[in-house]
Symmetry: D2
Subunit: 286 residues, 4 copies
């Protein structure tokens, strides 16, 4: 990721002739230097998707004016749109349980600025990683979850997320099922890593399910969380080869390597406004 | 595949100490030169699996005597076993409909002797490939299948397979569901290629199912046919990356490349006695 | 590939603000319905690359007028550009020796119209595939090549290519090194498949080189032919896993599967005007 | 990795009939329960390779007696052999510079006991990770390396490695070229991760070399260090897809994901005695 300040426009709207010309014309009329541009037209739904990255300093208007002026154009085309500013780091709240691989991986990427984010806090239903997280200078909140305290626990998590002004919540192998209320409170803002190649092996113990079925590859899926378990829009997936000699424990071990990689890729796409949801699917402009 | 004549022993039996020693000792006592050997012990079922390739001319006994003498040892360990002789080419009957990719691919491998098999005939519910198959000097049987004639059609297919002395039947994108009777007549002898990463997207139009779910990879699965649709033991699988811009038609096109490769790999494993079934799963000694 | 007639514009030019706006504005002013669009700006060379697919019937001008009017705009931006018409099938001349896998694969794709091309002829230095090619209704030319007749042979090949009005020549495991004169006569028009992951293992017997070095993956590379052996711009590559038990003969066998797939992908990118060369590199808008 | 104590026998010797029978017979005569077994015969060199894992408690002799008795058999077959005991954790010394990804990854695997090793110390030519390493309770040694102090620095590293009773030294993106003396002091004990798909792009800045050549995949290679730069026996490799839009900086970022994964896989194979070197190549019994 370059250090030059950029604005990223992402939008979707009903498809029609002239959208690209209108948007590109707008940018050109303000001297915008576009460094990356992608479009997609979905034939079935006749919907159009677009993403452009512009160098901030090339434009002859400031962020607020850009928002305002683009808003007028956007209205004409009935766009769902957003312009984000790379100078505003996104705030990522990490949820974790007892498994370390995704947490270590995300903190390494944050520490080296590979991921240019703020991590206002880590929340966990266990205190396993309290010392590790705090060593990094990041606040750690231990919010235990039991069948009886579930409601209060999630209320607490939501208030911590609000207090942290979180932009996105990452379930980094958080081993609890969120309440429907919480899922619905943050549509397109909660990202999960599921340890199977969805839609195969929904729910608990997917590696044991994979072992029982005798598949020859296992996978991981990064998706937005919705109130339906493991059914949200898929952002990224990958697989790894196994064979008959691999017991579920071996799969758990191999699986970690794709889980953390797939989660990191999916999260990056989200943070860079490369993902536009569309019903229960995603357009991902890599 | 080397041209040297080899015997391939494959077996499974209840696990206990001394199986490898007994088998290896037997081979060594007959001066057998083992070129490849694999074992696997399944912890859950306490079952042991083994495969050995021996150079035929290194042994001091002939094929019939080998069978007889090994039979005594096998009985002691309650083995399910088989010794195949590379000098006996396996007879592969190909079933095809209107899609060309698996058929061209298999005939190319046969023509170049990459697959060292006999193809006694090709059977199809359409006559699309009659000329192509016959040009290769292979008999072609057109057996139309309609809802009304299904029973008679499959009886015809079975009698053609018997007349051809087929060892294995390959459904090379054969777009009909076999009758339960036929599936049960040839357990572990009918190999299918399904155009999804099973257990996802069982049944008809898997690429359309994949498109609807918004997955980021599509797959193909080579498996033995059982009377339960797409539920048989999996031999081999692979996947290919897609993205939001790929319509079902694009997936059909990409999918062909993995379908033919996965089918060819799975068939080769079967032909070389590398696959041992075990309940609804397979051990594949690659 | 859809059957709707499309024009495909591909171009490169010095980078500056306003190119996308100008091109998109031009298309919009003529009511062009853009179904696919891609850009790339190369920072090092400050060069800009672009590709757009437009539905032919959506435009209010015909192909000749389109060429003329766009030419004026193109000149202003110093573009290298081309607009191709999907109604004009590209003419692909296939060169082959004695290995069947790429030839069978390409003919299968042509036969099923997966590749929407004309194959005016196949040229070979052996007559191995004469019958097979002619059965498909495609003329076959046997042009033997010996050290002594090399010059005359390539003159013959070039005259056959000209007579066939070939757009692109595909070396489908053609086991002869073309003359520099021939390479230079058709820059960006001759596509080769090399059986290694270039730049590793240039030249003869790459699988034997790979075996000697003990690599754990082998590859294939589809590239444009230049007068420097295996040094031309790379279009597509892929790899496959091997291990210590694989002798060079096994690699040859595994390699076939990636060679034919990589060649087919690279050729498709070329045919769909997705490849723009840039020095010794390519931009590939997949 | 199961927690049951196991002995792992690995060996190579001139190939002849009866090796498997002799070894298996030996194990069976001592009631050894073999959980994993692999062989390989190299045709070119007529050398045989073997690995067996045996459950320690199943044997009727202790470790010392096992070594002694097997030694007699080994001598008969001129074996290079080793029996390691899973109760003796291997001691891994990590060398690192300023890049965090491999270090975080290895410590995560160690912390969760996925890698069942001791890390007696981490050595670095920078003090970047002093706090991080020490937080984990692992001693950290800062040994700066400058052109002038190189000799003394490597003498210091070697004495630290000796004092730590290290079994293996891992160069986890250690950005210095070891002295030939050091390479030769620990043959088969120093493991490096090189950020290219060797033999392509030896030496410095391989991602810049890859960018200049325009390859479509980049790779990482885990290998034993020898005195010839990047020429040692390869243990493991993998690749990841890139395209024209990826600058060297992007490759650096993508590359991290395969570097750490390939290093971890290669290290695990080494630790589990799955790797047997053979000239400049490896047999890896995965």
């Amino acid at each position: 990721m370059s250090n030059t300040r950029r604005y990223t426009l992402s939008l979707s709207c009903p498809d029609q002739v002239g959208i690209v010309a209108a948007v590109s014309g707008f940018m050109a009329s303000h001297k915008g230097w576009i460094t990356e541009a992608n479009h997609h037209a979905d034939e079935t739904s006749q919907r159009f998707f677009m993403r452009q990255e512009v160098i901030a300093d090339s434009l002859d208007l400031d962020y607020a004016t850009l928002q305002q002026e683009f808003g007028a154009l956007a209205q004409k085309f009935q766009m769902d749109w957003r312009i984000s500013d790379s100078a505003q780091k996104k705030r990522v709240v990490i949820m974790v349980s007892k498994q370390e691989h995704c947490l270590y991986d995300l903190l390494a990427r944050w520490q080296s600025q590979e991921l240019d984010i703020d991590i206002p806090c880590v929340i966990s239903n266990h205190d396993t990683f309290k010392g590790f997280v705090e060593w990094h200078g990041i606040p750690f909140h231990h919010v235990p979850v039991t069948p009886e305290t579930k409601e209060a626990a999630y209320a607490k998590v939501m208030s911590l997320f609000e207090a942290a002004q979180g932009d996105v919540m990452v379930l980094a192998r958080y081993m609890q099922i969120l309440s429907p209320a919480m899922c619905e409170a943050y549509p397109g803002q909660i990202i999960n890593i599921h340890h199977s190649f969805l839609p195969s092996f929904v729910g608990a113990k997917p590696y044991h399910q994979a072992f029982a079925r005798g598949v020859k590859l296992i996978g991981a899926t990064c998706h937005y969380v919705t109130s339906e378990l493991d059914q949200g829009p898929i952002i990224e997936q990958d697989v790894i080869r196994i064979d008959h000699s691999d017991a579920p424990d071996d799969m758990v071990r191999y699986g970690k390597d794709i889980e953390k990689t797939v989660l990191a890729r999916g999260l990056r796409y989200h943070l860079e406004d490369r993902v536009i949801t569309h019903g229960n699917k995603t357009v991902v402009f890599r």
